[in-house]
């Protein structure tokens, strides 16, 4: 087990370096630089000085080594679009709205999805099964900005129940939270249904029924417990997925969060910010998968990690 975790951590490190190298090279081969913009034209001499002060005049590999040296001490550099701050402080300011809305979305969507999936599995081929499978197909296929737009059209424009965008008052959070909740709800409805059906058909459930255990106790104490194992493993990767979801949700609902930086860092050639965002999401994804795998083995002793 310990060996397995060490091995996986090493592979996370390798992935980190490969991804950072690829992203670094890609970013720097994008035509144009951070001071080519037309909104703030600078003379050739000033630009050279700016580039030198940011170390952009040095050979690429020197820049990469310097950058990675900083990353190891959690120094992600200074974002070009806000030179007075560091990348970390900029992201620290942007991150609460995203975490609040995305977190609430997952925390509301996941339990609802589990309930829906349970109902669908227990009442197979009933109307609730059809509702659950329709909702999960819709949630998993339709892009999140389409869902957001439909929410705005229905609840803000036609019914006029809720404000369409903005930040501050809690009623402005409702629609973005529903948009964030769509994917967890759909994922969990589908996973729970298939996991429950899988467990319900196992012989031990028949044995429990023959023993005369009440259906409720069979479902909650035995079936759900076994079905929960695969469900636990999708939670963290899905939670990380809200980070990329925020790009669209926050653009649609005008939320001042992390999302807008993903786009602005790329269009402004803001290398440090861009690099930090991509690396953070990648690392978070790797670690989420690792924790999920460990949790899976811990919950299900039949799995032995590191055998293959």
């Amino acid at each position: 087990m310990i060996f397995y975790i060490i091995k996986r951590l090493l592979s996370v490190l390798v992935t980190f370096f490969i991804v950072s190298l690829i992203v670094f090279l890609m970013m720097h081969s994008v035509p144009g630089g951070p001071f080519d913009g037309n909104d703030m034209p600078v003379s050739e001499a000033v630009r050279a000085k700016l580039m030198a002060s940011l170390g952009l005049d040095q050979p690429l590999w020197v820049q990469y080594v310097n950058y990675m040296r900083g990353v190891l001490t959690l120094d992600f550099g200074v974002p070009f679009q806000a030179p007075g701050e560091t990348v970390l402080s900029l992201l620290a300011d942007a991150w609460p709205p995203s975490l609040l809305l995305g977190g609430l979305g997952v925390l509301i969507g996941a339990p609802l999805g589990i309930l829906l999936g349970m109902a669908a599995a227990l009442k197979r081929n009933s109307w609730i099964d059809y509702v659950a499978s329709t909702l999960s197909t819709l949630g998993l296929t339709i892009p999140v900005f389409v869902i957001s737009m439909l929410l705005i059209l229905v609840f803000a424009v036609w019914l006029n129940w809720l404000p369409a965008n903005g930040w501050g008052k809690p009623e402005r959070w409702v629609l973005p939270i529903i948009a964030y909740a769509a994917i967890p709800l759909a994922t969990y409805a589908r996973y729970t249904r298939s996991a429950m059906l899988d467990v319900l058909h196992r012989p031990f459930v028949t044995a429990l029924r023959a023993k005369g255990l009440s259906e409720r106790r069979i479902i909650f104490q035995h079936v759900l417990r076994n079905a929960a194992i695969p469900m636990v493993t999708v939670f963290l990767p899905m939670f990380i997925g809200t980070a990329t979801g925020s790009i669209f949700v926050e653009a649609m609902f005008r939320v001042p969060g992390l999302g807008s930086y993903f786009v602005s860092s790329i269009s402004n050639r803001d290398y440090p910010l861009e690099m930090a965002l991509v690396l953070m999401v990648t690392i978070a994804t790797c670690i989420a998968y690792l924790i999920s795998d460990i949790a899976y083995a811990w919950l299900n002793p039949r799995i032995r990690l590191g055998d293959d």
């Binding site: 900005f145 059209l153 669209f248 991509v278 990648t282």
Partner: protein
């Protein structure tokens, strides 16, 4: 004579395709999805015949932002272009990118999957590590970077979508090849001295047709979503080429007063992606019941 027909009818051998067809037809959602997809494809191909023609022509500037009417089925957009024409021509962009990217995904995925499945060992390890790398990097962020790197545009999106679309095809083909590699007829071919390339081409790939078709069809909606997402963010298909993602992103600015600017591209994208996915899922369940989706 009549008896003959009756007996031949009952004893007629049923091929696996016939059963697959029966399973597919029994799945109503998949049939509806397939019909909608077919209609959309026909609409995209014959777009000039039933629309006002050029989707970029600003012929109705005096009626800018007009609401839907008999003359303008979906209204007019902010730049004086007939919106119905733009939506229909948007299907061309979306579907052609979907099909082209799926084709390239299959072209990359088949050889890599076949090699990894047939040889196993080091090649398999390498292919699986590459796939692992692709699965931890968020595809959207990578696509955004690649889009910025190449300046966006139609061809770039196809390449980027294929770059992330081949993984599924590769995994499906690899699993199929792996399970067929140990079969007797492959052993026999090896014993007769057939080269690995011959065996892959003549035996293993033809036996992987079902997963290849499934991988192809399921890659289409993913590519269409990627195109729409990138165009929504302004780094996809550049204007004035009509793209639904682009129209949605400008529609959000008009949503309160000119709802048609927001509703129609949103509905078009949702319906297309949904129909394609339902069709693909149905095809997967019909062609290979063991792959049945979770």
């Amino acid at each position: 004579m009549a008896i003959d027909i009756a007996t031949t009818k009952t004893t007629k051998p049923r091929g696996p395709l016939w059963f697959a067809w029966r399973r597919f037809v029994a799945n109503k959602a998949a049939v509806v999805g397939g019909i909608v997809l077919l209609i959309l494809c026909l609409a995209a191909i014959f777009a000039p015949l039933f629309t006002k023609g050029d989707p970029t022509a600003q012929d109705y500037l005096t009626q800018s932002l007009a609401f839907p009417s008999a003359e303008f089925l979906f209204g007019v957009d902010d730049l004086g272009r007939d919106f119905f024409t733009r939506i229909v021509f948007g299907a061309r962009v979306s579907l052609s990118i979907g099909f082209a990217a799926a084709t390239f995904s299959v072209l990359i995925g088949i050889p890599l999957g076949a090699l990894a499945g047939y040889y196993g060992g080091k090649i398999d390890w390498l292919v699986m590590r590459v796939i692992e790398l692709f699965s931890v990097v968020p595809s959207l962020l990578a696509a955004m970077l690649l889009g910025a790197l190449t300046g966006g545009g139609y061809g770039t999106i196809i390449i980027v979508a294929a770059l992330f679309g081949w993984v599924n095809v590769c995994l499906l083909v690899r699993a199929q090849v792996k399970s067929f590699r140990e079969k007797e007829f492959v052993r026999a071919a090896q014993a007769l001295g057939a080269t690995p390339w011959y065996i892959i081409r003549r035996h293993l790939i033809p036996n992987s047709v079902s997963p290849i078709i499934v991988g192809f069809v399921l890659a289409i909606p993913l590519a269409m979503m990627l195109e729409a997402s990138l165009s929504f963010l302004g780094i996809g298909v550049p204007p004035p080429t009509p793209s639904w993602g682009q129209m949605i992103s400008s529609g959000i600015n008009f949503v309160f007063f000119y709802w048609h600017m927001a509703l129609f591209p949103t509905a078009a994208l949702a319906i297309t992606v949904l129909a394609t996915t339902l069709f693909g899922d149905g095809l997967r369940d019909a062609l290979d019941p063991t792959l049945k989706g979770r």
